[in-house]
Symmetry: C2
Subunit: 130 residues, 2 copies
């Protein structure tokens, strides 16, 4: 597998990370995601990492990069499903993912994106249809 699928749900893109990330896969994901944000006119990106038992500095940096690029394309990035052990390890590593928003699960992540869109006066986000 050389591509991680990006699922479009209305104005929200959903990515589930299940496999070990390596350099090329991370670069492909960043490229695919930024292209898809533009083509789908997405307002939010949800990255589910519930399958990851270990998040090292490489993945931490990738998440930060994705969030920074998405922000420039006017989309919010929310990381969801982080395991408690992963959060502890990240803090111990000194990686607190300051540029990334987090939510407990996908539903709360979607709520977070919708709330931020409503606050900015753009409340026509709908995960079901365009």
């Amino acid at each position: 597998m050389d591509r991680i699928p990006i699922l479009k749900m209305g104005q929200v893109l959903l990515v589930t990370i299940q496999v070990d990330m390596h350099d090329r896969l991370a670069i492909a994901l960043e490229e695919d995601l930024s292209a898809k944000i533009v083509s789908a006119r997405a307002k939010g990106v949800l990255i589910d990492i519930s399958a990851l038992e270990i998040v090292d500095s490489f993945i931490g940096r990738m998440l930060d990069n994705i969030a920074a690029v998405s922000r420039m394309l006017d989309a919010d990035t929310v990381v969801v499903g982080m395991r408690p052990a992963v959060a502890i390890t990240l803090v111990e590593l000194g990686l607190s993912l300051t540029g990334v928003k987090t939510a407990l699960n996908v539903e709360r992540g979607i709520d977070l994106i919708q709330r931020r869109l409503r606050e900015s006066g753009d409340d026509n986000v709908d995960v079901r249809e365009e």
Copy 2:
């Protein structure tokens, strides 16, 4: 990785298959999914296979099994994101997945589940919140 993550979005469960399925992983997915249908009171299951370049008879049977179990637990199963080449191969193999509904992408899959729920008079499905 020994578990495929199951994402809950309201009454719909979403599974993205990205890795090669082997026996134990398929059994774990079937068990996790049936437990989650009950605990989340899910009405629909979406299985995204857009990352799969090859769907063999093993995966075909797994999809059929999941659909049959879900049906008994009162949930619709929709397979989304099938590649054209995969569809051709499946038909050539004589596996036409008769027990499984399909949709082009996640959005249409959610629409399909919602339409079926409305027809059955249970229209309070919402992918954003419970």
